[in-house]
């Protein structure tokens, strides 16, 4: 059962376990905020990706593809395929949440994402099931608040800072960094290089089909590497 009143120390412990994660998460949130401010979509819609989607890679891809004018169904499809991993996280936590009240599963499930799962699992391992719930909640709520704040600050910076800073270029640079740092894995390398090449070749493609085509071709190319 969940008795949050008695678990203030476990909530705090979960929040403390989340703190090191924030070093990587806050800059990511800032980049998403800047991209939301620069993109050709309503700024509030860009910020809403935070509470509504609450998963950085899918948010960045959604904002980037909407900005590029990609077909709506393609944007939703890409965001959902990126988030398929949430089903695995759901399966991982199902073990610990079996028999808990509905409200708990609806709230705790909403907060499921890479860092909250990692912090949550550490709590269940260290403190056991009862106290682990509070540990999870402490970490996940701190993550949620920091994430939404970082996106908000990124949006403010993206709209207020002078044009000569060329903040719009932070987004391609961030994406380049992510791509280059994953080149060691053969399947990822193939997916990344093919996707980038197709995106460049398909720049003149009509209806902004280029990005969607590039992602599909890149994923297909990466899958061929796995099969060999």
């Amino acid at each position: 059962m969940i008795s949050l009143r008695a678990d203030r120390r476990d909530l705090a412990a979960g929040a403390r376990t989340m703190v090191p994660w924030l070093a990587g998460i806050v800059p990511f949130g800032l980049v998403i905020g800047v991209s939301a401010a620069q993109a050709d979509i309503p700024t509030l819609a860009g910020w809403l990706t935070g509470p509504v989607i609450f998963a950085g890679s899918a948010q960045l891809a959604t904002i980037g593809m909407l900005d590029a004018g990609a077909a709506p169904m393609a944007v939703v499809a890409v965001a959902l395929v990126i988030n398929v991993r949430l089903i695995f996280y759901s399966a991982t936590m199902a073990r610990h949440w079996r028999g808990t009240p509905w409200w708990w599963r609806l709230v705790a499930g909403y907060l499921l994402v890479d860092p909250s799962v990692a912090v949550g699992l550490e709590g269940y391992r260290r403190l056991g099931r009862g106290r682990g719930h509070a540990h999870y909640l402490g970490g996940a709520v701190l993550l949620w608040v920091s994430w939404l704040a970082a996106i908000g600050i990124g949006i403010t910076a993206g709209t207020r800072l002078p044009a000569w800073l060329h903040l719009e270029f932070v987004i391609p640079l961030y994406l380049v960094g992510q791509a280059i740092s994953k080149l060691a894995d053969p399947a990822l390398r193939r997916a990344i290089l093919v996707a980038a090449a197709v995106a460049l070749l398909a720049l003149p493609a009509p209806l902004q089909l280029g990005i969607t085509l590039a992602i599909a071709t890149g994923v297909a190319a990466g899958l061929t590497e796995v099969r060999r």
């Binding site: 819609a45 965001a79 990126i82 199902a94 391609p172 280059i180 093919v194 996707a195 590039a214």
Partner: protein, 106 residues
């Protein structure tokens, strides 16, 4: 569908993914290729958006000014390869962009 609907649809779908195993099903087995494809989509999407973003940044500029984004990307690539940290791309790339923009003739 406008931007709002796209974001709400992606968010609703993601929430259903989150709830799938803890509320809706006890356990289903996912095909392995779907998991692998899922791991490939974000890197492929990021690479495609990066390539298109850099090309767009260069496209609106004259021949000499277009070199500034490319200098920044080159600095970012070198920094990530040398440090092994993805964050180094912004830390090295943005100053390179400012310097190159200031030095290159308009």
């Amino acid at each position: 569908m406008n931007a709002w609907t796209v974001i709400l649809a992606a968010g609703l779908g993601s929430y259903l993914f989150r709830l799938s195993m803890i509320v809706l099903f006890e356990r289903i087995t996912m095909p392995a290729y779907l998991q692998r494809a899922s791991e490939l989509v974000a890197p492929a999407a990021f690479a495609a958006l990066a390539a298109a973003g850099v090309a767009t940044a260069c496209g609106g500029l004259g021949l000499t000014r277009a070199a500034a984004p490319l200098v920044a990307v080159a600095a970012a690539v070198v920094a990530v390869l040398r440090t092994g940290s993805a964050q180094a791309a912004i830390l090295a790339g943005m100053p390179a962009l400012w310097v190159a923009t200031a030095l290159l003739p308009t």
